[in-house]
């Protein structure tokens, strides 16, 4: 976002000019309420990313919500079985717009090495995905990288209000 301040005016009360789209994007990308849909081992890495060592709160994504109605980003963390698939779809449908989806770990990206009868071969066969974070499990740095990419995407997009 481009912030322009006129120093003479700013000193008298302050204002900045911006495009509304950019302003909303800036607000949205730094106030991500995530819904952690945690089903498997990647959850451990999700927890370490969320806790104080790596601290997702630095990126404004520190408050997970456990109601899809209150969340913006669906973090799908772990293997999704065909039995679980309808639940994932339902959670996604229950989230209010605008919403984004992060596929966390290779299981959610492609099914990973679970090329078998039980596992969904990538959650993008069920719901749209915005950011893929590979790794089995991804390291926290990788997760933060994915989060920053999501923020860039949120910033760039047309903001529906």
């Amino acid at each position: 976002m481009e912030m322009k301040t006129d120093s003479s005016q700013a000193s008298q009360g302050g204002y900045l000019t911006s495009r509304l789209d950019e302003m909303i994007g800036w607000a949205r990308k730094y106030s991500i309420f995530q819904y952690p849909f945690v089903t498997a081992c990647c959850g451990m890495e999700y927890m370490s990313t969320a806790c104080s060592h790596y601290d997702v709160d630095r990126f404004g994504a520190g408050l997970p919500r456990f109601s899809p109605r209150q969340s913006d980003v669906l973090f799908v963390v772990g293997t999704i079985s065909h039995k679980m698939a309808p639940v994932l779809k339902m959670i996604y449908d229950q989230m209010a717009d605008p919403k984004w989806v992060v596929a966390f770990g290779v299981c959610t990206c492609t099914g990973g090495f679970y090329d078998n009868y039980a596992t969904v071969q990538g959650i993008d066969t069920l719901i749209p995905v915005d950011v893929y974070i590979p790794g089995c499990p991804p390291r926290p740095e990788n997760v933060l990288d994915g989060l920053i990419k999501l923020q860039e995407k949120i910033q760039r997009q047309k903001q529906e209000v």
Partner: protein, 160 residues
């Protein structure tokens, strides 16, 4: 010192078909009809004292050309005597039915449902023989060797 399977052979000479031991764990292959009696015996006899049924599983010998095709496998543990015993029963494909052990160890309920779900071996006398891991809509038994490994039956999403 005689092992557990030697005692079993002594008590059930015509029902114990084969025995072997590996790494200190003993295995006896027994006839299907005798399984409930032998299982009750290993639970109640103080020499065996198998208070825990650790697992029930099965093996599909299709690719190894077994005849009969399946083997049902029961693992027992005695937490007092600190010994283990494995019982195996050979099961024909055409007659893939086993007697239930739910009356002896309640946990057999879920184990037997799992073996039914994965291998398609039915358990006669089971109070509620439904699939436990897969969904009701699922067709077939995925751990059978003739189930194609890449065959998928999704509830939602693309089918192959």
């Amino acid at each position: 010192m005689p092992g557990l399977t030697d005692w079993l052979k002594e008590r059930f000479p015509s029902d114990v078909l084969e025995t072997h031991a590996a790494h200190g764990d003993e295995t006896a292959v027994v006839t299907r009809a005798s399984l409930p009696v032998i299982a009750a015996h290993v639970k109640q006899d103080p020499a065996f004292d198998m208070n825990v049924l650790v697992d029930i599983t099965a093996v599909d010998g299709l690719t190894m050309k077994w005849n009969p095709r399946f083997e049902a496998v029961y693992h027992f543990l005695s937490t007092a005597q600190l010994h283990r015993l494995r019982l195996k029963v050979r099961v024909e494909e055409k007659d893939a039915v086993m007697p239930t052990l739910t009356g002896l160890w309640p946990i057999a309920n879920w184990f037997e449902r799992e073996v039914w779900d994965m291998f398609g071996i039915r358990f006669e006398g089971h109070p509620d023989l439904r699939r436990i891991l897969m969904y009701e809509e699922f067709q077939g038994h995925p751990l059978r060797k003739d189930y194609p490994y890449n065959k998928r039956q999704p509830l939602i999403g693309p089918r192959n």
